[in-house]
């Protein structure tokens, strides 16, 4: 096993994502595909967890993402980087999942929209001041605030703030101009500022 740790390390370094993908396309190389999965699984899972707000569902979606990558492997033309391509698939998969859930829940709990959910959570937290300070409650409020944002704003925040992508990279993933990405980011942060104002007030600088 020890000898293979180093060949494992070697592999990880020697093949670029694009090269690995080429091998998957041309030679149906399962080893190369496994390499890509190994490299990216964690990151994609975290991305999906942020996009859906649901850590457990994210695991299933991440699987779905890689299945789609393999199933549509010939669609990757190498115009964008594999990283960009993969993230696009992840965004689409999460979006599909959200739509699926929405269709399922339609008709039941009509007033369970994101704004109401957020306001309810906010009210609950202000009832008990200690709870606002509690880390978990606060994290939950942030999450709910994010989900009050429209999809296009939330995506940008997640890609920029949590994934750490540069604005140029986000523009490639979303296939919109860079200025648009930055503009959406500004709007997102502004809206989040409004949502979170009641709890941010507590902070003494």
């Amino acid at each position: 096993m020890r000898a293979s740790v180093f060949s494992y390390l070697s592999d990880l370094f020697s093949l670029s994502d694009e090269q690995a993908m080429l091998r998957v396309q041309k030679e149906n190389d399962s080893h190369a595909f496994a390499l890509l999965v190994r490299r990216w699984q964690g990151r994609i899972q975290r991305l999906c967890a942020r996009l859906t707000g649901d850590v457990h569902r994210a695991e299933d979606i991440a699987q779905e993402v890689f299945m789609r990558v393999y199933a549509h492997r010939n669609d990757y033309r190498g115009e964008a980087s594999f990283a960009t391509y993969l993230r696009r698939i992840a965004l689409n998969a999460c979006y599909d999942e959200q739509r699926r859930l929405k269709r399922r829940n339609e008709g039941s709990l009509k007033h369970n929209n994101s704004e109401n959910t957020f306001n309810a959570a906010l009210e609950a937290s202000t009832l008990s001041p200690e709870m606002v300070a509690a880390k978990q409650e606060r994290a939950e409020l942030v999450r709910k605030a994010l989900f009050r944002l429209a999809d296009q704003y939330r995506q940008v925040v997640i890609l920029r703030h949590y994934e750490g992508l540069r604005f140029r990279e986000i523009a490639q993933v979303l296939d919109v101009p860079q200025g648009t990405v930055q503009s959406r980011m500004a709007e997102a942060l502004t809206q989040l500022g409004r949502f979170l104002k009641p709890i941010m007030k507590e902070e003494t600088h």
Binding site: M1, R2, A3, V5, F6, S7, Y8, L9, S10, L12, F13, S14, S16, D17, R39, G42, R43, R46, A49, R50, V55, K135, R138, A139, V142, R143, L146, V157, R160, H161, Y162, G164, R166, F167, G179, Q182, S183, M185, A186, E187, L189, T190, L192, G193, L196, I199, M200, E203
Partner: protein, 255 residues
Amino acid sequence: MNHPNREEWMAYLYKDLGRKRQAELKEHLKQCSQCQAETSAWRSVMRELDRWKLPQEHKAVPRLRWNIKWATRWAAAAVVLIFAGYAVGRVTVASPPDMEQLQLALETSLEPAIRQKVIEELNRDWGLALANSYLRLKDELSGQFRRELNAYTLHTLAASNAVTNELLTELIEAINTAQAQDRRWVAAALEQVEWNRLRDKSQFINGLEVLAAETGDELQRTKQDLAHLLVYTQPGDLVPYESENLNNSNERSEK
């Protein structure tokens, strides 16, 4: 007064601007209370966003924390760097090491004071500044590395091989974030240092001695520590550790 627009402030806040423009906006903030208020509000939101953490978040981008876990990870990364550096002959007095890789290794854990100084060095114009600061940087790196490697070897010597593999796997995670072009030379280096092909251990130790001579006694201990590690992580047949061989560089053992 000409205010930068929202879009540019976003780039500024996330340090996604050219250095010159970044400095210009920083200057503007000093003189403009309106923009100051706006960016301050956005910064508060950014801080709030940080509160949403995923369970078991092992961020690929290392945080600047100082604890044993990061120290071992850093030590492992530094070990690979130094091994790799010798294999491709990059770590010599004349040529500076690959700074992106070093930065990655350094960012994982260094004492704040040293880290700050080192990162400042790294962020400057690498060309000329590097030539001058390289030796200083190498000294600091070596010193820090030796202290941490001692802790690391204590850990690994006591632990099982499975743990070493785990640490290496963590290292993989950390290095995965390196740029593609950096990956390639590390790959070439790894091919050379792949343990089961490293027939001549003393060749490697020779290289260490060169470094030791350059940077003084400090690294004598490092050399021994590294040899501990080398022996410990030999695959398959374990070569018995002979301390005499370390000091006798002329002895070449047949494998």
